[in-house]
């Protein structure tokens, strides 16, 4: 047996495999496929103060080794989340991280307060300052490190729970943003959210996504995500959660070697709903066959 546990802030995950926000619903959707308690943790679809129906359709398109989405943060809103989704999440024996987004700094704080004041049981927050698919906030916030740092500071004051800031890759220097966020008190940074992308149906001359641009995810973006994780690992000391095109345990290893303490599986959940669990098992087998006692030994073990 190898020890797969990793620490993110005050949280100990039973293994480094999380599921990425917006790709794993509220967990329940996948519970019929495998026992989600096998995971290190799950991250909910982004929750906002008010329910959102999301963007018009088509919202998704396939691209070479990737996909575009512009879901527009469709979600039930924080109240329904607490009353309808939390009861299932409470029954889980794995870390539950609530991903949240707001249109203004104040909205972030209000949202967190609502969750803090509720009797909801969960383990931490992932703060989405990087959604490319909303008009206000989102990637605009995430690419401005003053605002990102301000959000982080305010949230840090509002909760004792683990705070993970999810970063956008659509910036000149993700390292600067990560450093600012660390300074402002974040426990961890997760990256990357999607790259801004676009596709056109040449027969109709229309964009393949109703909102014209969307977020690119999947294997296509893995090299970009790895480079960003590596860059950030040179700039911060807080743990990094790697995201972007992870389809199997080898991909997970790449991210860990590049500097990630844990990883999130996103688009891959769509292709193989049980893949996150398979990655946990294969990571374990890898550690055993390579005589790795603690999975954290892999972190930043790149020979470069």
């Amino acid at each position: 047996m190898s020890d797969l546990k990793v620490n993110i802030g005050n949280l100990t995950l039973k293994n480094p495999v999380l599921t990425a926000s917006g790709t794993f619903g509220y967990g329940e959707e996948f519970s019929s496929f495998f026992d989600i308690n096998d995971l290190g943790g799950i991250i909910t679809k982004t929750i906002t103060l008010k329910p959102r129906v999301g963007n018009p359709f088509p919202r998704i398109a396939e691209t070479p080794s990737g996909m575009l989405n512009s879901i527009g943060l469709a979600n039930v809103g924080v109240d329904a989340f607490i009353s309808e989704k939390m009861p299932f999440l409470k029954t889980l024996n794995t870390a539950v991280i609530v991903n949240v987004a707001g249109n203004t700094v104040e909205e972030y704080v209000e949202l967190i307060s609502k969750l803090e004041d509720s009797d909801a049981e969960f383990d931490g927050y992932e703060i989405n300052v990087s959604c490319p698919n909303v008009k206000e906030g989102g990637v605009l916030f995430g690419s401005n490190y003053n605002i990102t740092a301000e959000i982080t500071r305010k949230i840090r004051k509002a909760t004792q729970r683990c705070v993970i800031i999810k970063l956008t890759p659509n910036v000149t220097s993700i390292g600067d943003v990560a450093a600012a966020v660390e300074q402002a008190g974040a426990d961890s940074v997760s990256l990357i959210n999607t790259l801004i992308g676009m596709a056109i149906d040449v027969d109709t001359r229309r964009p393949k996504i109703a909102c014209i641009t969307g977020g690119l995810s999947g294997p296509a973006i893995k090299p970009v995500a790895l480079a960003k994780v590596f860059e950030v690992s040179k700039r911060v000391n807080i743990p990094i959660i790697g995201i972007g095109g992870i389809m199997n345990y080898q991909d997970a290893l790449e991210f860990m070697m590049a500097g990630a303490t844990a990883i999130e599986v996103g688009t891959a959940n769509f292709i193989d709903p049980a893949i996150s669990s398979t990655i946990v098992a294969n990571l374990h087998n890898y550690c055993i066959s390579h005589n790795i006692r603690h999975v954290r030994e892999i972190v930043s073990s790149i020979i470069a």
Binding site: P58, I60, N269, A274, I288
Partner: protein, 275 residues
Amino acid sequence: MSPITASLNSELIHNSEILEVRELTPRIFRMRFHNSFLARNSLPGQFINIKVNSEYNPLWRRPFSIHQINSGENWADILFKVIGKGTDELSRMNPGESLDFIGPLGNSFTIKPDSMKVAYMVAGGLGIAPMLILGHALLKLEIHPMLFYGVRTESEFCCLDDFESAGIKVHLATEDGSRGYKGFVTALIESTLRDMPSTTGIELFSCGPNPMLLPLGTIADRYNVPCQVSLETLMGCGVGACLGCGVKANQNELKYLYVCTQGPVFNSNEINLSE
């Protein structure tokens, strides 16, 4: 120490042996695979989501209605048309190879044996796919189904024998008049309903392109018959996670229903296909 394996639900995640891939009419294939769970538990209208290769192009799985099941021989069929890369690869698979799919997924046609007397199955093009398993299910419940089936031109019909040998009466329509009624199958249905003294006890079960389902809903309303439609949309996941498969709900406030989990079967007046 033996490798650790993830414990996955084998009722939903499958690697099944392909038994046959047959081109029934040009570009329309039937694939038969061994799977005792599906052969026993699939409901009419449900679908499976297939990974056509182990690559990232195409990235997503491809959804197909369950076409026919045989619990005695433990197989299930899908019926599909080659339209792009995914279906092309599928058509090139060979018996003995393994089919990677998840399912059965989605809801199913609702059959109410008490209130229903006659089931009109209305299929446009490949919408024929779920009608065979539905027809068989109706017959089992001793409801007599009739099939209304429209295509562009005669050569596109397929599986007619399967319906006829099951004792299902088939009414055909072609847009070019090469066989059966000349025109849309919706017009054929409408004229049939118009000629009925009473439509009580009739229900419509339909699958086909949206431009067919939309007028069908209107016709169903006009003649006051319940109408269930099975929808197709792009699907990123098939399991309710990507939120890519929405259709507008038929209500004032904007709301979307998700085809993979809340569908693929809807009552025609639940949804708004008009845009």
